[in-house]
Amino acid sequence: MWLRRQGCLRPAGCGVEELRRRRREREAALRKARREQQLISKRLLRDDAPEEGEGGCVAVILGQAEIQQFLQLAQRGTEEKERGRALVSLRRGLQHPETQQTFIWLEGSMRTLVGLLTSNQALLQLEAARCLHELSHSEQSAVAEACLPATSYLLTYLSGHSSDFIELCLYTLGNLIVESEAVRRQLLPQGIVPALAACVQSPHVTVLEALGYALSQLLQAKEAPEKIIPSVLGSTLPQHMLQLLQPGPKLNFGVAVEFAWCLHYITCSQVNNALLITHGALSTLGLLLLDLAGAVQRTEDAGLELLACPVLRCLSNLLTEAAVGAVGEQMQLRDERVVAALFILLQFFLQKQPSLLPEGLWLLNNLTANSPSFCTSLLSLDLIEPLLQLLPVSNVVSVLVLTVLCNVAEKGPAYCQHLWPGPLLCSLLGTLAFSDTEVVGQSLELLQLLFLYRPEAAQAFLQQSGLQALERHEKEAQLQDRVHALQQTALHS
């Protein structure tokens, strides 16, 4: 269950430190982009293994004359192989932004390329498509938008049968989709959603992964909730997506990652999550979560968080739907194993990807908030102590942990009986020493519930210098009233 492609796009002579530096730069750029709501990423399919010998993937800058020459040769050459080679040379040139610019401004160039794309020579078609793919990957809008004349053909070819070609068309479309709303305004009326829906029945894993990618780009668009998601939900795509997420021998990791993200973009847009629930999204994703936890246990951890993240998000958002109560037993999420799986994943995140801990705890909150059964599971599976071990990670994590504990405590004395005696009180004395107001505030809420349903805990609190711990916050505006109330409760206990 791993990615089909394992290769090296590393430029020659790149040390580990250099790679790390580049990665940090990329990460910073992505964060900035996300805050500006401009998160765009494109995927490049490059086939040129032989390139590596020539000092890495060095793209050649072609001038106007050279481009024209290659195009003419491709169009009018006598031998198909020769024509194909001309396009290969053009493609190599198009890997360079300067060549891309020259190309798009050259009169008739795109027209010729589209002509070759739709020619009856299979090899030329493929090579023309590869040239187009290079252009689609450009970071410059003008270049990507210059590919618009080809889109109706790319969509037409999706109903073909040549899996490599379809894959290429899909990645190209995916790159174009994410470029601008102008591009999508053309692709939507051209029927991209039905074309993708027809294509999702392909048996080829590579096609499916490419389709998932293209669809995820479409669903990520700003205007998606109003303009795109309704038609996607109205197609057969949701059922197929869920099928492709079902755990089992046929589950392909790369495909699942793409469709899980698709599902996330749909669910967090809150357009019609009830529909997804009636298609069994909760049970499918729940089973997938179990499967992921199993994979973690077997230490098959290569990139599992890439799939875990969207699955957690979808489950968390879907659980908030009112529709959940309205569907049958099997469609709901009641299985205790989900809690076990979630903790196995939390442990995994703590080691490999701490930034995902909040997302996992968010799911835990949504599972436990209104469910006595899941709260009971936390207690019977002895998960309180592991939960407490997460407190030191960060303020955000602390607040979430405390919120989950409040979910348990607020259910009454039968629950609080299992919370004290135990390590909880000591941990709370610890969190009261935090400077973060929200952490302290949530600690106070938990203490109130604990003292209410388990008065003996208040006495123990006093004995462990609880009052002094409270005193620190007496002047804090957001905390004073609660601090005062707790001091009274403790003293009168």
Binding site: L39, A122, Q442
Partner: protein, 237 residues
């Protein structure tokens, strides 16, 4: 983070929900100045809560995380020839052959030998070009179906359909897979010129012509479309 063995055991066990402990709330819980209420939370798309996960997702897409790269080199096989009658293309890689076969031989019209990119377009072609019943019916009802997958509109004439494709679906006016059928009548001068085969012609001598002529304004179109620019590229240039 230490997990008790019961957790792993539970995961391996069968489905089931825990029998809940009795719930018994006091009205004092969460009463002022306290405010806690157990509630589920949802986050909308752009919420900063998702920032970290989104960044990881995009790093993955940009290949930084897992260094996804080009497909492995295709295995070469001893040269072989396409077995379809009349085709003498030679190949040394199976994927090249696959694409060739699907492009030229898979959806071929048995009447006129034209090849189409999909079964859908082939079906429409056969209906409109080779089905005499179609001609009869089309005089009385709208028979020309829209080419776009998912659109159920039908039209009286092929021209109406083309207009629909251009206006409604933003298709290029010279969309290669929607050429009007060759009209034998001498009364309409320009329109009779079949500039290029409707599809990927298998006829040898038309091969070169197709590749080139799709680049120029087809004569028939010019007649009906007037001076309108047919190539959307001209907007971006």
């Amino acid at each position: 983070m230490q997990l008790p063995p019961a957790v792993h055991a539970r995961l391996a066990g069968g489905p089931g929900a825990a029998e809940p402990l009795p719930v018994e709330r006091s009205p004092k819980a969460g009463a002022a100045p306290f405010r806690f209420t157990a509630r589920q939370v949802r986050f909308p798309r752009e919420h900063e809560f998702f920032e970290d996960g989104d960044v990881q997702r995009h790093l993955y897409l940009q290949d930084v995380l897992t260094q996804v790269a080009g497909a492995p080199e295709r295995p070469r096989v001893p040269e072989f020839t396409c077995q379809v009658a009349g085709c003498c293309q030679v190949f040394d890689a199976l994927e090249d052959y696959e694409h060739h076969y699907h492009t030229l031989h898979r959806n071929v019209c048995s009447f006129c030998k034209r090849a189409f990119p999909s079964g859908h377009l082939l079906d429409i072609h056969i209906l409109e070009w080779h089905d005499s019943l179609f001609q009869i019916l089309s005089e009385r009802q709208n028979m020309y179906q829209c080419l776009v997958e998912g659109c159920t509109e039908k039209f009286k004439t092929s021209k109406d359909r083309k207009d629909h494709l251009v206006r409604r679906h933003l298709y290029p006016a010279d969309f290669r897979f929607d050429k009007p059928k060759k009209n034998m009548s001498p009364a309409t001068p320009r329109a009779t010129v079949q500039v290029s085969a409707e599809a990927l012609g298998a006829e040898g001598e038309q091969v070169e012509g197709d590749a080139m002529e799709v680049c120029s304004e087809p004569a028939g179109e010019r007649h009906t479309a007037g001076r309108r620019k047919l190539w959307s590229i001209s907007r971006t240039l």
